[in-house]
């Protein structure tokens, strides 16, 4: 039999009906409040049921306030109430706010052990690619597809091409998974992955923790690819050990989930991480990125010019001269325990600059509990950070956590699109350690020099 890629192994094992597009079986469907109401409404209208409530899990994340107390926004409340009512009516398990298991959908899936190697996983959210870090085939879908999966447990999908991004070399001090993926997007471009499923491989990936791998797979969509994945290994198995929904014994089949030696990829990209420097985005998409020791580049396209105007930056300006107003440490990209530890290590013993308002929003209730058990919340609050409850928060600003027009933010999230964190707001994407350094200095700083 011909050698297969990891992607092909999982894809082939889930084809219900071959063809172009194929019909694919879905093992886990994650649901949240924003992209599901119209899907449940569609089921109701057509008299359809949720086919596999045992393979469906819902949570509340995008809209939830991160400060204690009742929800003041009536629209957000209506949407959260609708999710609760829909889950009740259709028999879908829901991890609601206050259940202790809630959090950003892409944080709780792995955390609860729902995300497992070899599974096909979908969610009405483009960052579903995150779950690929555990060796699953996971991708974001639209609301009609959410309805389709609820009703049929299948998805109509065209088979993507395959790309391997191989990270070689030793990751230097102060350079993180976030910098690896920003570097990769800078390399392939924000549409370089369109039509592909990406497998991340190489020694620098093998050495990464699960959190680091999740950060990289999370941002796959920012390079245009729908799915990103990493072959499961001992790190993966150790991570899953003892998690609520993970099997007690590692199934033998999980060890087969890797690309065969002669498997063919449609495209291979190699990135030497030993040359990487902490990255900072300067523009209005994640591909507009430069090293922290670099300068704002000269515009090379009308899009670049528009971005410079929107961001109010001049070409040639050193990145470390850019003064910031806000810091956001959070999101499904960088709000896991390891991310908070990395930020806290930089913050410890320092104060947030007087001109900066900084907040930390843990990715889940579980992450929050763990961080508090480790005393990280104290490190942050002593330094002047706000310590919040779990949710998407200022990653997309659907809740009250938003930038004011013109405010500039160092953010550990994944999108620096115009207005993403609030209309007129300016977002620079960085790693948690770099965000922490920026909070202290009041401008971008090279975390490698802070020691």
């Amino acid at each position: 039999m011909a050698d297969k890629t990891l992607f092909e192994k999982i894809w082939d094992a889930h084809v219900v009906d071959d063809g172009e597009p194929a019909l694919l079986y879905i093992d886990l469907h994650l649901v949240h409040e924003v992209t599901s109401p119209q899907a449940f409404e569609g089921l109701r209208r057509e008299g359809r049921k949720v086919r596999r409530t045992d393979l469906t899990v819902a949570t509340m994340d995008h809209n939830v306030p991160t400060e204690p107390g009742p929800i003041r926004d009536p629209l957000a409340k209506a949407q959260l109430d609708a999710l609760a009512a829909n889950c009740e009516e259709f028999g879908v398990p829901l991890y609601a706010t206050g259940s202790g298991r809630e959090g950003i959908v892409h944080v709780i899936g792995p955390e609860l052990g729902l995300t497992q190697p070899g599974k096909t996983i979908v969610c009405g959210d483009s960052h579903t690619s995150t779950h690929g870090a555990l060796g699953a085939l996971a991708f974001g879908i639209g609301t009609s597809e959410v309805e389709h999966v609820l009703a049929t447990q299948c998805l109509v999908q065209s088979k993507p091409k395959t790309m391997k991004i191989e990270f070689v070399g030793e990751l230097p001090f102060g350079v993180t998974a976030k910098d690896m993926v920003l570097g990769a997007i800078g390399e392939i471009g924000i549409d370089g992955g369109v039509g592909y499923a990406i497998e991340y491989a190489g020694p620098a990936i093998e050495k990464l923790s699960m959190e680091g791998r999740m950060t990289i797979c999370n941002m796959t969509i920012e390079g245009g690819a729908r799915a990103g994945m990493v072959a499961p290994d001992e790190t993966t198995f150790a991570y899953l050990q003892g998690r609520e929904f993970a099997p007690a014994e590692i199934p033998a089949a999980w060890r087969e989930l890797r690309s065969d030696p002669d498997a063919k990829f449609d495209r291979v990209v190699t990135i030497d991480v030993s040359k990487l420097v902490p990255q900072v985005t300067w523009g209005t998409n994640p591909g507009m990125v430069v090293p922290v020791d670099g300068v704002v580049p000269a515009p090379a396209s009308p899009e670049d010019e528009r971005a410079l105007t929107y961001m109010d930056l001049k070409p040639g300006m050193p990145i470390t001269d850019i003064v910031i107003d806000r810091v956001f440490i959070g999101s499904c990209t960088n709000a896991r325990i390891e991310d908070l530890r990395a930020a806290a290590a930089v913050v410890n013993g320092h104060k947030v600059a007087a001109s900066v308002r900084a907040m930390v929003v843990p990715g889940s209730a579980g992450v929050k509990r763990q961080a508090e058990a480790e005393g990280l919340d104290q490190v942050f609050t002593n330094a002047g950070f706000e310590w919040r409850q779990a949710g998407c928060s200022m990653c997309l600003g659907m809740n009250p956590d938003i930038l004011a027009p013109g405010e500039r933010c160092a953010s550990t999230s994944n999108r620096n699109f115009e207005g993403r964190q609030g209309a007129g707001g300016r977002t620079h994407l960085v790693s948690p350690a770099m965000a922490a350094a920026a909070a202290i200095k009041g401008r971008f700083a090279d975390v490698r020099e802070l020691g």
């Binding site: 219900v16 957000a76 879908i141 009308p302 659907m398």
Partner: protein, 187 residues
């Protein structure tokens, strides 16, 4: 979903690459639990600029949109497709689309047609003289009153969905035997 066989209309041109779905429909409108009524919020922030392309009088009422590379990238929000459709667009012509939008568009009754930059350049200059195109999904052809004809490709499943205005779920449920067989083999 409204069937889409053939459209003859003036054309709006949005000559920007990497237009993301956060611009097409900003987050504050994703709190609605309805599926309709998003058209008035299309490009909400950009529309505040009187110079924004879609305000040009010659683009008013267009059902065909010419867009730039990697159109509708970013967030998976299908609301972006709903907003475009509700605003009046039935066809988008662009060099490339995000993978998620391509599916969302078809399911929402919009044809996402891929054309080379060269062909799009030709179409743009043609419509700048006489602003009208016909896009025919049956003939897989775009035509202009000047006689210009441009063929295009569209997957047969997507084409059937659009032309028939078909319900994707109903089509899949017709394959119930295969789904049940898969489940039986994997339980």
């Amino acid at each position: 979903m409204r069937p889409l066989v053939r459209v003859t209309s003036n054309v709006a041109v949005l000559d920007r690459a990497d237009v993301d779905t956060d611009q097409i429909i900003p987050k504050q409108f994703l709190k609605r639990i309805e599926r309709s009524g998003y058209g008035e919020f299309l490009f909400f922030d950009w529309m505040k600029d009187p110079e924004f392309e879609l305000h040009r009088p010659e683009f008013a009422g267009a059902e065909i949109l010419i867009a730039g590379r990697n159109f509708a990238c970013g967030s998976s929000r299908e609301h972006a497709a709903w907003a475009l459709e509700d605003y009046g667009f039935r066809v988008v012509l662009a060099p490339s689309y995000s993978d998620i939008f391509r599916r969302n568009a078809v399911i929402s009754g919009i044809a996402p047609i891929e054309l080379s930059e060269v062909t799009l350049g030709e179409l743009k200059s043609t419509v700048s003289a006489v602003n009208e195109l016909t896009v025919d999904l049956e003939a897989l052809e775009i035509s202009h009153p000047s006689g210009l004809r441009v063929p295009f490709e569209l997957g047969s499943y997507e084409r059937e969905t659009l032309i028939g205005g078909l319900d994707d779920i109903a089509r899949t449920l017709e394959r119930e035997d295969k789904i049940a067989a898969f489940e039986a083999a994997h339980s």
